[in-house]
Amino acid sequence: MSPPSWADALLRLALPRADQDSISGDLLEEYRQEILRTKGHAAADLWYVVQVFGYVWRATRLGALVFSGAFLTRTVWDWLVPTADFTTRSAVTTSVAIGTLAFVGFRAAFRSESILSGIVLAGLTSQIAAVLSALGVTSMLLLWHDAATIDAINGSGGLGEAFVLPFMTLFPAVVLGAISGVCGRVLRRLVHAA
């Protein structure tokens, strides 16, 4: 019996190259020798997936928190200090988002020696950040829902944009992850060669 192969592949993408065998082996040993025997196949698969997402969260949490923090700060700024010219604000938040996703992709590819790792982890970072942003926007709406704030929300793209925009960063995140992943992989190879 083996855990879901997609989860095993995802785990390897989230780990440094030197630890992929030892850590996935530890999980597999626990899965086969204890969890499978005591909990059954479906529960053991679920346990394995939860453990894998623990590793994915550790690999993406810094980027996801910075990304969603920047988005929520910008949203509060737009809601509480309305403006007609969003150029500077957009430039700041876009730069933070690009820098964060590029860093995640670069670091993942450098550690795992896999460009695919950069692509997948940058994409997952954007979507985890999107979920955190949606939760943040919901909380902010519970705090501020007076007429003036609703006007400001409508003037800055509306609620639809506040909830949907972060999820739409998946494709740019994948592209950035690919580019920065290539850079990370090449630098790793140069370090090995030196």
């Binding site: 530890d26 590793y55 550790r58």
Partner: protein
């Protein structure tokens, strides 16, 4: 005194000392869970092992795999002299805090 170890770091280092030559990832996890009497995620133990190794308190080597691991290598850990010193410092810090007090404490709860 160098950085004082956190309680989880101490649990991991002491587990490695207890396990001796059998201190690899899963065995360390089980020992930590048994001593702390709670479930601990694999990722938390591996992250701590990585951090302690980066600090120079541990050293690791790859061993052989087993059929249950699909042949994947085990990584074995050994506490270094700096790790022993850090554990001694942590123990001394706790004893200093308790100096002059008898245990268990008595009083209103």
């Amino acid at each position: 005194m160098a950085d004082v170890l956190g309680s989880f770091e101490q649990a991991v280092l002491l587990a490695i000392l207890r396990l001796g030559d059998e201190a690899y990832g899963r065995a360390i996890l089980k020992e930590v869970q048994r001593r702390l009497e709670r479930d601990v995620p694999h990722g938390a133990v591996h992250a701590t092992l990585e951090r302690l190794e980066q600090k120079g308190l541990l050293r690791s080597r790859l061993g052989s795999g087993t059929p249950a691991r699909a042949g994947r290598a085990r990584r074995y850990y050994r506490v270094q002299a700096a790790g022993i010193r850090a554990l001694n410092d942590a123990r001394a810090a706790v004893e200093s805090l308790w100096d002059g007090l008898s245990w268990p404490l008595r009083g209103r709860t």
